[in-house]
Symmetry: C2
């Protein structure tokens, strides 16, 4: 393999004005401008660059950008092979820097920034190997893959040795599942029908479009008022019928007991899961909600704001979730994502990654392909979120066909954004934002 | 009351080179440079300014400074009376801003930044009333005090009404305890003897000094190696005897099971608590450690990196802590500190605030006075950390006499730093840091 060094980097604050049309609106985030902190790592070879991003929703992106700049002091000048030869140690060097860990640790701004940098390194590694990311990790020997994971604070539920054994046990049938995925793709569900700010006709139209596109699973936002929720869910069930799956998402607006009471009133809509019923930090609260809703056959799902493997460990230990919605850049990049997916597999909880936003669909396709081929070997209760927004800005956008994610073949983690989109939407000096200020 | 507006602000990155002499060294943070993001809020009245800070340990402070700048967009131009007339709403406006909450929520950089801003507002309020902060909140009617607290996500264990009742039940005897605290101060323990990087003679000398100063409780760092821990604890027990209290602090270096095994080997040193045995996010893990160490009479303590009231709620619900070490600026300022103290009181768990660092002793004296006078009414198992470093930089430094915190009488929250210290240690352009670069 070529010997490369991380020579320098670029970090950008990119914001799309999604709040104007209420795309992405929910009870907690009525006016998000879907955004990202976008990182490019440069090496000696102008064709071998690493692209990574962290999804944000507008104001605050500038703080994540600042954190990326601080982290990059630890990355510039490092040889890429030294990183990938002992990726877990490098990950810990960044995630647990003896001074910077104080402003986390492993959470919030500094962990979001870490994800952009770490995922950019995975992008670079995949490009060096000439493989899409999912293929890189599917082909990787279990020992090598597990060597990228830091098991600190999770060894009481999953050891390095167990993780290797889990991957080895699926090894002989990997080729069959890889072929299956390439042929048929991975099941997706759509959230595009469900944003809180849409009017009825827009929503009905979106339901019909999604059905035509082959979707069988749908998610809607709830939590603004019980009347509005019933109205929205009635309308959606009228359009999609009861033969399709319907999930709901409260985006953390409820107290623990309120979540239970509220969901009891929505139970007759036959809902597969309630997502983010309360604070993402409240493992015990989620366990209470899960217990109360079990008799109604409503599962609890959460993860997009669960900040690290320690939170997921506890959600699994307490039986607080039936669906694990890990996030590709809320967690500290792919290394930690794989740790969480392996823990979920041990507890037999399906991984249904969070997506949408900016670049999340582009990331998670790799994760769900690997999860199916190398870890779970099952589609049961497994599906990955898909939202049909902002893909036009990506060089190799995520695609769904017949309601299933399509396998990409281009090398990399594939969140590379088109240069013209970056120029236009860079905040605050891109062409779009300049014209808004006039 | 005068009508004031927050007209503008100053935020500074101040760093002290504590790593040079190993002050503050522990198994996880061997080389911290004790630092802070320091905020000054200016009003129309040059005598009425609000000073707040958030403690950090070097690199990363620049990211917190950036977050303060972003938060201040929501504070500049606001009338101070509008804030203090409905402080809970203002707190939520900042802690749950619909775009910025994504980069938390309520954790890490953005929450540390919030604390500096919120505590600066309390400083300003106390100055407007001409009272030290502790006296402002001791005098405040229960309904008014509780109106400053956001009960989101904790109402399943503590409601607003219960909090008011708890405060009211102590109201008739407040004056007695206030007099007692003014006369005798509040019990402190010292960590100055315990840093991991000190040599034996330094440590023995510090133990003797602390005994002479009247301390009866001592804390030492553990976790670098079991041999070193035994050596340090033997030496300390030789100096302080077994009639004084000794606590230990692992600063998160252990796995859950490792913490249990390790502490069993140190049990014969008769230790009151093990602090931060593992990840601060691991509520379930702390509960396991607490259960395993209960037969050995070792309590579990944590809090300095527990990022919000939701984590403390769960630690209390699961019986995971015997001592609640809330942090005055890890939590989102005094409003959230009071929420946690009230929850701890409901569970009958003593609050022993984390201090040391930069400005933490200056903050926590107010918190422990209020906790004793208005909430707990008891000294049982209650004591507040004191570390004898860096106080020379403060205008109204925390003081201990005969091993007890002394009550200050100057108006404010009293973390105001001397202008010459700020000039010298501002990073990277202060005189000290410029001279280091030469």
């Amino acid at each position: 393999m070529v010997q490369l060094t991380i020579k320098d980097f670029i970090v950008k604050d990119i914001r799309f004005p999604t709040s104007l049309e209420k795309h992405g609106s929910d009870a907690m985030h009525p006016d998000g401008d879907y955004s990202c902190a976008y990182v490019i790592l440069n090496t000696e070879d102008p064709k071998l660059t690493g692209h990574g991003l962290t999804f944000t929703i507008g104001k605050g992106t500038e703080v994540v950008v600042k954190a990326v700049e601080s982290l990059m002091d630890l990355v510039i000048g490092v040889k890429v092979n030294d990183i990938i030869n002992d990726f877990a140690s490098f990950w810990r060097k960044l995630s647990s820097h003896s001074q910077m860990r104080w402003i986390g640790p492993e959470k919030g701004v500094i962990h979001l920034a870490l994800a952009a940098v770490i995922n950019a390194l995975w992008d670079l590694w995949a490009k060096m190997e000439g493989k899409p990311l999912w293929k890189l990790i599917v082909d990787m020997e279990p020992e090598k893959l597990v060597s990228t994971i830091d098991f600190r604070y999770i060894s009481d539920v999953l050891t390095k040795e167990e993780a290797i054994e889990m991957l080895k046990s699926k090894r002989s049938t990997v080729k069959d599942r890889e072929k299956e995925i390439i042929d048929k793709g991975y099941p997706a569900y759509t959230t595009s029908i469900g944003w809180i700010g849409y009017d009825d006709e827009t929503r009905r139209g979106l339901c019909r479009d999604a059905l035509k596109q082959g979707y069988k699973s749908f998610k809607a936002k709830v939590g603004d008022s019980i009347e509005n929720d019933k109205h929205r869910l009635t309308l959606i069930r009228e359009e999609i019928g009861y033969e399709n799956k319907l999930m709901v998402d409260a985006n953390q607006v409820w107290e623990v007991n309120e979540a239970i009471d509220w969901m009891k009133q929505l139970a007759n809509f036959n809902l597969l899961w309630i997502e983010e019923p309360t604070s993402p930090d409240d493992v015990v609260g989620h366990a209470s909600v899960a217990k109360a809703l079990k008799p109604l056959d409503i599962g609890v799902a959460t993860g997009e704001q669960c900040h690290n493997r320690v939170i997921f460990k506890q959600l699994l230990q307490l039986g607080a979730i039936s669906f694990c919605q890990l996030d590709s850049c809320r967690l500290g990049g792919l290394n930690e994502v794989m740790a969480v997916a392996l823990m979920a597999a041990k507890f037999n909880i399906p991984v249904c990654p969070h997506a949408g936003g900016v670049g999340l669909c582009e990331y998670v396709r790799h994760i769900c392909f690997w999860d199916y081929i190398s870890v779970s070997g099952s589609f049961e209760n497994r599906m990955t979120e898909y939202v049909d927004h902002l893909h036009e800005h990506f060089e190799d956008p995520a695609k769904c066909k017949d309601g299933r994610y399509v396998v990409p073949k281009v090398p990399g983690y594939l969140v590379g954004m088109k240069p013209e989109s970056m120029r236009k939407y860079q905040f605050p000096d891109g062409e779009y934002w300049q014209s808004r200020r006039k």
